[in-house]
């Protein structure tokens, strides 16, 4: 079962939910794997302190021009839809950060003068989380290199271990928003948990996130953080849309302070483990309902 945890708005508690759920499930003997796909700002490791066992670089293909063979005909520049390759004077100039790795220049070069070479844009770290009193579980963290614009290849590489039949539950911590890196992270999940807060920003961004989930033909449930803080419009929206609210966490300064220190809430807040257990039962039930027989 693969569950993605996402939100339109940032800072609503995605990572908090993902890390605490993973720890909860591990504690109950469920084999769980957490994939941190917020590759621009991956934070799960700050709360889980994994021991990193190995790292793999995330390679994207960019053109490499063989100057011997190149006749400066300019066909590559003509076929590149992203203006990532151009002929200036007697050289071919490649702008790797604009390249989408589509392979058009290489395939369509009449002289077969363009090869493709790997360029590192990120790294995937495979770590093991060992929390006191809980069985160890793997945390896979995607880290986009600073200065890189395109997050998706790193997201994709982080998700490479998502389909593993030996694991009961794969949890995916998605980035905020609704654009390409988010789509990549939530695609393929059995259920998306959208975390929000009952404020105008939270509601507006939740509406966008629900729209995204539906555009992808996925299903979602909602978790409301700081549930007593704003107004009831998020609840009304969920009721109108027939979206189940699986968890409500009250605004609590102790939670904010424990989070600020990098502590797991399961350890810091008495009673939260039970609340989260109930929420997990609802999430799992909703995910199973969505497993449509093919």
């Amino acid at each position: 079962m693969r569950i993605a945890i996402a939100s339109g708005k940032g800072g609503t508690g995605k990572t908090t939910l993902a890390t605490n759920l993973a720890a909860l499930l591990a504690g109950r003997g469920v084999t769980v794997r957490l994939l941190d796909c917020d590759v621009e700002e991956p934070d799960c490791h700050l709360f889980l302190h994994p021991r990193v066992e190995h790292r793999e670089l995330v390679n994207v293909l960019v053109p490499a021009v063989d100057e011997e063979r190149c006749t400066l005909c300019g066909a590559c520049a003509e076929v590149c839809a992203f203006k990532a390759i151009t002929v200036i004077g007697s050289t071919v100039l490649v702008f790797p950060e604009l390249c989408h790795s589509c392979g058009a220049c290489s395939l369509l070069c009449p002289e077969k003068a363009i090869d493709e070479e790997g360029r590192d844009t990120g790294v995937v770290e495979h770590g093991i989380v060992s929390l006191p009193g809980r069985p160890a579980f793997p945390l896979v963290t995607g880290v986009l290199s600073v200065g890189e614009a395109k997050a998706v290849p790193t997201t994709r590489a982080t998700l490479a271990s998502a389909d593993d039949a030996s694991v009961d539950v794969v949890l995916v911590d998605a980035p905020p928003g609704t654009s390409c890196p988010v789509i990549e992270a939530v695609r393929g999940s059995d259920l998306v948990v959208l975390v929000t807060e009952p404020t105008p920003f939270g509601l507006h961004d939740l509406e966008l996130a629900v729209e995204m989930v539906r555009a992808l033909d996925l299903r979602c449930v909602v978790a409301v953080n700081r549930a007593d803080l704003g107004d009831d419009r998020v609840h009304r929206f969920c009721a109108d849309q027939g979206i189940e609210i699986v968890l409500e966490v009250a605004n609590d300064r102790r939670i904010a302070e424990a989070y600020a220190r990098g502590e797991l809430l399961l350890d810091a807040i008495p009673g939260l483990e039970e609340e989260l257990s109930v929420a997990w039962e609802r999430i799992a039930a909703a995910a199973r309902r969505q497993e449509v027989p093919s």
């Binding site: 800072g11 989408h100 058009a104 395939l107 986009l144 600073v146 614009a149 654009s179 920003f201 555009a215």
Partner: protein, 302 residues
């Protein structure tokens, strides 16, 4: 008249209070063009209640379309597509998955039957609206859409253009969380970058990453630690770190529920009043002192 100065507000981590700070700055600036560059989740309009002026379609990319009549189902398109955007089989024929299509046009170029054409995807809109504090350029990106960087650049350019047209001295940009393409697109050429963070382990970590990006661009930056009293020890460490890293200034704002109450009431923090309003006013004074001495006279007392 010197061209407008540009302040870009970012955060690294989401939910630290960027948009609330930008709305407060808008109220304090007394005439600035505003650009909501968090095109993925644009929220500034929820507190500034703009009157919609003009709306313009945005097309960030082209998408391949297969003409079923002309298609011979040879499968060459599926063979060359690197984005798994060609769906189908030799028996069922082929179609394009519009979400997966990157618009590279390779399929069109290799199709022996010339059955593929490219069509622009209208995947968003940008708007020029009027708020009580000045013009607002904002945008809507179709959900599940790519190319937010391109839309961010467009929104910034339009905000600069309208500032010049109306002789406004300042453009205030509300940026996106993260460090990827929309953030990079919002940074180039800014006169000052203000990073709004919070004293949490993730706030500190994410600030560190986004400031590396800012420094790659060699832009002057300042930091505002929001909800500073949540973790005073970490606040002190962040202040020390960014001061050592060369920040123009570091300001702190304590947690004040009035910030959320203002948002729920659909207004800016300055109009709502309270402790945070006074503290954000001090941040604004520091910002305007860095940006330009000529702006100082226009600061409204908080």
């Amino acid at each position: 008249m010197t061209p407008a100065r540009e302040l870009v507000v970012i955060s690294g981590k989401g939910g630290t209070g960027k948009t609330s700070v930008v709305a407060a700055f808008a109220a304090l600036a007394g005439g600035a063009a505003l650009a909501d560059c968090d095109v993925d989740a644009a929220d500034l309009h929820l507190v500034l209640h703009p009157e919609l002026g003009s709306e313009h379609p945005f097309s960030g990319r082209n998408q391949a379309v297969i003409d079923p009549e002309a298609c011979t189902a040879c499968g060459r398109c599926a063979e060359v597509c690197r984005f798994a955007a060609v769906l189908g089989s030799p028996d069922d024929g082929y179609t394009i998955d519009p979400i997966a299509c990157e618009g590279c046009e390779l399929c069109r170029r290799v199709c022996p039957a010339e059955a593929i054409r490219m069509t622009p995807v209208v995947n968003g809109a940008w708007m020029l609206s009027e708020t009580q504090f000045g013009p607002l350029v904002h945008a809507r990106l179709g959900v599940a859409e790519d190319n937010s960087g391109k839309l961010v650049t467009l929104v910034r350019n339009e905000a600069r253009r309208v500032a010049e047209e109306r002789r406004l001295p300042l453009v205030i940009v509300d940026g996106s969380p993260g460090i990827g393409c929309p953030v990079i697109a919002s940074l180039a050429g800014a006169h000052l970058v203000l990073a709004v963070t919070e004293p949490t382990v993730s706030g500190q970590h994410d600030l560190g990453r986004v400031l590396q990006v800012v420094r790659q661009f060699r832009l002057p930056f300042a930091v505002c630690v929001n909800k500073a009293d949540l973790n005073p020890g970490l606040t002190t460490r962040i202040v020390d770190e960014v001061t050592a890293a060369g920040a123009e200034f570091v300001a702190t704002v304590d947690y004040d529920p009035a910030v959320t109450h203002a948002q729920v009431a659909g207004t800016d923090v300055i109009a709502y009043g309270g402790r945070a309003a006074a503290e954000i006013t001090r941040v604004w004074e520091a910002v305007s002192a860095v940006l330009s001495p000529s702006l100082e006279g226009e600061v409204i007392d908080g």
